[in-house]
Symmetry: C2
């Protein structure tokens, strides 16, 4: 896939120390791909080694003098840092020089700048952030993950379309199933917005499964789970907290005595294989959907493997017509409505 | 603690087969407690064995001819089943014959009947369901868990008061910390209701920690996490799904070969100790807060140990002035306001 990825090398907790080696690993594993490394030359250059010679025309360095920090308010990052590595990477997508941009920087700033520079697609009111999570049957995409706090039913419908087209592009499933996150047997089933969104999704022509509950995310009941950004963010963070607690408890129990420590060594291959199945690094790279260009957000704390996975996901999305798929689908729906 | 618990013996997936043995185990482990077993005599009686003789005045059977099913709409359960075991158990609390009622039945019906029979406490608009979850530092109470889908800031404040008083009663912490569930670094921090609730909690006189995120639930950052019922329900169900997936993956990895199976046998004590720490049965029994009486909801699928834990939690809440604490606290707050 001959795609070009613009990489914000300065973003994330570790900056170029992670992003540059990840970019080189990505180029090695994707022989057709190209990378534009965006950032301060003096920070990026020393980490390249012989890469410029090795990859030739497949790699180039694009200088950007500023850096968006994790604490920069989105509006400040947008207005005052016009030569930030984040902004320059997104500009490259806008100008058609890159097919996708990837950044591990400040989520709010990335969303604000992407929206300002690239604009949203026709029919999309608000972009959303989608994340992929492991499930008992493979993996599940969940959106929105925090870009939109108060959502209308129409917004949730749009998330459904964007999520379905993402899975179509990235997982090559033509009719991915879409579920609407709701609550179950309890007193009142869902609020009015969710009820109305259910109606809209039912009439959307998507492969709409119906309501799902929180547990369905990890059961893998559907390919895409749609929810507002507040709920999605809480679900994601709660899962992270639980996974961390379980990991800590397992470690504590295996460290309890000399005998249990010995058992830990013996069972290491089993535990490692288990860990690999739930390794969040394999799921890194959250697409910002609904924009006129492919942008992916990497976790700020991503290590080399995690960041490389985000780059691979970006390449997959860009080379499989993600933007075109969303545009076409939205057009069909608006025709039906009109 | 000489409390009397009214037990809806017919509720839950397993009915008397679980509730009756659990009631007897509870009486054995709580030598001062009494139990009123509510249900169809022909279903409960055969399971009692020599219990009536053994426990004497500490146990009695209260006949109820009807059963609320899991599918009964709350309104139907309330209007058409006035002699249900659920209703009769709650009536016993209303009449002062029991200090608390526990049911593993239909959540919606339990909430509707409790609210109708017992009424809410002064200053409380809506009752809430609180659940306790394990955390890295012990455990965390989360409310609401699904009784209230659209909440105002005032409601969230009331949940904060009820949750704090619950922890004061059950865990004997006089100034439990209260956190407001919100989302983090993302574009917009929380919606307007949550922002306003933060202001109210800050001025409430409670030990308000401030905003927390999903991961803080299992990290145990605060004693009580406050959120609306939709978000709380999603967080809880998502956690259940993840825990189940992790359990399934661990099992699969240990079953992969003869060698890993042998390792599983060797590490069984470690794995069991780990499992015990996250055993959801130990956390069974969700108080319905804000009512003029103590009512606890057990998980429908509870087994004997789980249901016994719900009974123990009910006894703890009732014998530590839960209702009085909430009433007093609400009165103080309303004085300040007035």
């Amino acid at each position: 896939m001959g795609v070009t990825i613009a990489i914000d090398c300065m973003g994330g907790d570790h900056g170029p120390a992670v992003t540059v080696p990840a970019a080189l690993a990505f180029l090695r594993s994707h022989p057709d791909a190209k990378a534009i490394l965006v950032g301060r030359e003096e920070s990026v250059q020393p980490l390249l080694g012989s890469a410029l010679a090795q990859f030739g025309a497949r790699i180039r360095l694009q200088s950007a003098s500023e850096v968006v920090t994790m604490d920069d308010p989105p509006a400040i990052a947008m207005r005052n840092k016009k030569d930030s590595s984040m902004r320059v990477a997104i500009n490259l997508v806008k100008e058609g020089e890159a097919d996708a941009a990837v950044s591990a920087g400040n989520t709010g700033a990335l969303m604000a700048i992407s929206r300002f520079v690239l604009k949203t697609l026709p029919g999309i009111d608000r972009p959303a952030i989608a994340s992929v999570l492991p499930s008992q049957r493979g993996h599940t995409y969940v959106l929105d993950l925090g870009a939109n706090v108060d959502c209308s039913a129409e917004h949730l419908l749009q998330f459904g379309v964007m999520g379905a087209m993402l899975v179509a592009a990235v997982d090559h499933k033509e009719r991915p199933s879409v579920g609407l996150l709701n609550i179950g047997e309890e007193v009142i089933k869902g609020n009015d917005v969710v009820k109305e969104a259910g109606e809209l999704l039912r009439g959307s022509g998507l492969n709409f499964y119906g309501n799902v509950e929180g547990n369905d995310i990890f059961e893998g009941t559907v390919d895409v789970v749609v929810c507002d950004g507040f709920v999605g963010n809480v679900a994601l963070k709660t899962s992270e907290g639980l996974a961390q607690m379980i990991g800590a408890f397992l470690k504590e129990e295996f460290k309890r005595s000399l005998l249990t420590k010995l058992l830990a060594v013996l069972t290491l291959p089993v535990l490692n294989r288990f860990k690999k199945r739930v390794d969040h690094r394999l799921y890194n790279g959250a697409p910002l959907l609904g924009l006129r260009g492919v942008v992916l957000k990497s976790h700020g704390s991503a290590d080399k493997l995690a960041f490389e996975n985000a780059l691979a996901r970006a390449a997959e999305a860009a080379s499989n017509r993600l933007i075109e798929r969303i545009t076409e689908r939205m057009a069909t729906m608006n025709e039906v409505k009109a």
